[in-house]
């Protein structure tokens, strides 16, 4: 936990702000805080190193993932994005949110982000911080685990 640079509430606020800003800017989607109790299907992780190291994980229901991909691709209503595009959208959002989040905590940090990875299930390790959102009539959960 990066206690030296920010409090837990500051980290949560920075992550919440980064998620909302990324979804609104790139996908024109509103993210509303919601309990993260649903079963997700798609998981993406990004390992990072800045002043501290850890992993950011995004989990999304199919409805949320598909609608976010449609918005990013500029598809018309009724058009469905291919599965590869949906996966790529989640990877892109994960790296974007991670970069925005880390940059907002320390604007002079030297960031290192690994390539986003699609996972079949969530990490077994309990998250240090987890935020749930309702997005485009689906659900998204963003979790942080610190090394």
């Amino acid at each position: 936990m990066p206690a030296a640079c920010a409090t837990e509430s500051e980290i949560a606020a920075a992550l919440d702000c980064s998620v909302r800003y990324a979804l609104e800017t790139m996908c024109f989607a509103e993210a509303v805080p919601a309990p993260s109790a649903v079963e997700h299907v798609k998981y993406v992780t990004v390992a990072f190193r800045a002043g501290f190291a850890g992993t950011l994980e995004i989990a999304a229901t199919p409805a949320a993932a598909q609608r976010l991909a449609s918005a990013l691709l500029g598809l018309q209503p009724g058009e469905a994005p291919g599965e590869a595009y949906v996966d790529d959208t989640l990877c892109e959002l994960a790296t974007t949110i991670c970069g925005r989040f880390l940059s907002s905590l320390d604007a002079s940090a030297c960031l290192r982000l690994e390539q986003a990875r699609l996972e079949t299930k969530s990490s077994a390790a309990p998250p240090d911080l987890q935020l749930g959102f309702q997005v485009e009539r689906g659900e998204m959960t963003v979790s942080l685990r610190f090394d």
Binding site: L72, C91, G99, A109, C110, L111
Partner: protein
């Protein structure tokens, strides 16, 4: 004759996103070429010198810096505007890329309007061919 815009972008979904912005009405007519890596971009630039480069640094850091340096050292390409987009929103990274010769540095999340404005500035800067 349309402007040649080279999009250097690893992500298929972001390639479509960038292409959509470049082809927005109101901007000069452009034809987009895409490269998935720095090496592919180097080949494309040698075959078809672009009028504008949009470089997403969603690649490993050494490659993106190398590509930008290569562009700025190439007499045929050194004046070509190069807009760098990145998930790294730190001032450190922005300054590093500007020092390497980026025309503009746009942190993600990338708003279409921000990219469009950067492209317009590049067009109006007089750096591009007539």
């Amino acid at each position: 004759m349309p402007f040649n815009v080279l999009l250097v972008e690893q992500s298929p979904v972001m390639r479509q996103f960038l292409r959509r912005v470049v082809e927005m009405p109101g901007l000069p007519e452009s034809s987009c070429a895409v490269a998935e890596s720095g090496a592919a971009a180097a080949r494309e630039m040698a075959d078809h010198p672009p009028d504008l480069i949009v470089l997403d640094t969603n690649m490993m850091a050494p490659e993106e810096a190398t590509l930008l340096q290569r562009i700025r050292r190439d007499p045929k390409l050194q004046h070509v505007p190069c807009i760098v987009v990145s998930e790294d929103a730190t001032a450190t990274r922005a300054q590093q890329m500007l020092d390497l010769g980026a025309t503009a540095y746009l942190p993600k999340p990338l708003a279409p309007a921000a990219l469009r404005a950067a492209i317009e500035r590049s067009f109006h800067a007089g750096c591009m061919r007539n």
